[in-house]
């Protein structure tokens, strides 16, 4: 009897593949087929979606579907930051939507209320649009990432998407790509020619948040080990504390993970590190309560912020930020630290300066991304 190989844990709920008729012979579709051979998912059904279908229906409880789709929209986008807070100015390369992992705080639950993992399989169209954009002026620099509407690496084992993207971007010196993930898959490394144009990035959190609020994800140690592997290979990495959760015992938890970071990487290995307090559209809170009934951190002093999102009351945020920044500074971190979507007041209170003092956050991060 043939013994089937288990896929990584975050891919094991995939129970069906849908593929647009026009994408059946795409490199992505061929790769997914190949990667499933010999695995426990070898025999899951494949359904071809005709051009007449306006949507795919899939509802099989906890199971997920992978949909290889011909995407007709814009691939290169601006991050949907608001003016009320300082945005990092990151540009999004839109490669798909939804995530196979389950984190209680994830905004994707509100964006996508189905269990269909969409991948834009028309990579030629993507590369054409990116080539037109990035090639128009080699002196215009871009800091881009794929981890906004999906996790950059969660489906990499099946699709090899980041590998292809890294390979494509090798020809564009004016682009730095950040691969933001909670999974560990370093297969994209083989495609890189310049280690200074890719920034592998992992989210970090307090250990208890990782254990109780993030499901089917890698452990914090696995992420830090991967970061160390990248640093040893010559890459600089990014680490993101987002969302920082205010829970009883948060000081101990965040101190522990901050201290742990520097057992694996040195401050100079880190291109930049963001810190962002948990915030959400008001409609996400009942979704979290419903999807994760044991989750308690949503019951805290959240108030409508300047952008209408629910945010932890400012003194509570500042208290957490100050603690974390002091701890990170004690390990030698300083200018690489920034806040994701915070106000001038909070920057001033915690760092003693605000982005306008150094010409804007986007500008600083661009320079740091390019190693200046």
């Amino acid at each position: 009897m043939t013994k089937h190989v288990e896929l990584p844990v975050h891919l094991r709920k995939i129970a069906h593949v849908f593929v647009d008729e026009s994408m059946q012979d795409s490199p992505i579709a061929r790769r997914v087929r190949k990667q499933l051979i010999g695995t426990t998912l070898e025999n899951i059904p494949w359904t071809t979606v005709s051009p007449d279908s306006d949507r795919v229906e899939f509802d099989e409880g906890d199971a997920q579907a992978l949909y290889l789709k011909e995407y007709k929209g814009k691939f290169l986008r601006f991050c949907p930051g608001t003016r009320a807070y300082h945005c990092c100015g990151y540009r999004i390369i839109h490669i798909g939507e939804n995530c196979p992992m389950a984190c209680s705080y994830c905004i994707l639950q509100a964006y996508f209320q189905d269990r269909i993992l969409k991948i834009w399989a028309n990579q030629d169209d993507l590369f054409k649009e990116l080539g037109d954009g990035f090639g128009a002026d080699p002196n215009t620099r871009y800091r881009v990432g794929t981890g906004e509407f999906t996790d950059s690496l969660a489906l990499e084992h099946l699709t090899g998407y980041s590998h292809d993207l890294v390979s494509f971007l090798n020809d564009y010196d004016n682009v730095v790509l950040e691969l933001k993930s909670k999974a560990v898959d370093l297969s994209w490394m083989q495609a890189t020619k310049r280690t200074d144009r890719v920034l592998p990035a992992w989210s970090l959190n307090a250990p208890i948040i990782n254990e109780q609020e993030e499901f089917d994800v890698s452990t914090l140690t696995e992420r830090l080990e991967a970061a160390r592997t990248c640093a040893q290979a010559g890459f600089r990495v990014c680490l993101h504390f987002d969302p920082v959760i205010h829970y009883p015992g948060w000081r101990t938890g965040y101190a522990e993970i901050i201290d742990q970071i520097f057992e694996y990487v040195k401050p100079e290995d880190i291109a930049y590190m963001s810190i962002g307090s948990f915030r959400c559209m008001p409609q996400l809170t009942p979704i979290i309560a419903n999807n994760f009934p044991d989750t308690n951190y949503i019951y805290n002093e959240f108030v409508p912020g300047l952008d209408g999102k629910a945010r932890l009351l400012r003194p509570l945020r500042v208290e957490q930020f100050s603690f974390m920044v002091d701890r990170l500074r004690s390990h030698g971190m300083d200018k690489q630290l920034y806040f994701c979507m915070e106000s001038t007041e909070v920057w001033q209170e915690v760092f003693g300066y605000s982005p306008s003092d150094f010409g804007g956050l986007g500008k600083r991060l661009m320079a740091q991304a390019f190693g200046e």
Binding site: Y299, L306, L313, R314, P315, L316, E345, E349
Partner: protein, 320 residues
Amino acid sequence: MQLSKEIITASADSIDDTGSHLFWRSNANESLSESINEFGQAAPILASKSDTGFKLIAGYSRLSALRQTNQLVLVRMVLDADDRDMGLLYLADNAHRPLDDGMRLAALRYFQPISDDKTLKTDILPRLGIKPKSKDAKLLLSWLDMPDNWQAHLAAGDVPLAACTPLNRMSDQDRLAVEPLFAGFSWSRSNAVNVLTWLFETSKMTLKPIADILQQSGMTNILQQGLSPKDAIARLCAAAKTARYPELSSLQNRFDRAATGITAGTRWRMVQPDNFETGGAELIIQVKNETQLKKAVEDLEIMAGVPTWREIWTLGGKND
């Protein structure tokens, strides 16, 4: 099921009016009794044959009025009616009545054991004036899972329909703790939902049972003060909100004190506009003529010199 063409007469005592399908039974009101006394019974009641006589299907109030005056009853016979038919006929015969949430719940309680969920939602709810996909439909169906004592509170009008959402999230013990809040007062929808939600969320936030929160927040004490319902509800709401948002409430109290100190004796009003996201304050005034405007400017100049402003601007900040 069929209705007979003929109308017969029967004595009121031969008609059994205890069927569970008579879920909105109420005795005859004064105007119905007067009308029957003046004109007689204009519309027959509906009944079916039973082993002992007749079984009332619809017309409880008319029957009770006729029984009081010992009159014969005009009856139209219902043939081959099962439990569902009897309930639907009763509903149809009472279609003129204004419905409240307690009545709707009583009807749903009757139909629930004899209907599947889909029928209850798509057939029965519209007969009760509720759209199947509406928020009220969801709430009413949720009430069916609530304990009998809480269903009785809804029927009595003590608790609004929307309270079901926070109540459903509570444990039996927590629901028991909040029940006294609804014993003597009639709550508005928003106040009830807010207070229950704040209590539930405070319990989750502090990992304490709601009984402890009621005690520590002073809400138990407020209930025992013999206040008017309006005052009691206002204080209960304020206490629950303070328990839920202790830091925000503390900041707001300090802001209000400082703002009052600055604007005292003037027509200016000061508010914190953004939940302390910034250290800003908004000053508001309404002026109707030049004199008032001049005075407002003079007051503003005097207010600008008050040292309390520093407290306003630093509230919630690191140097607060």
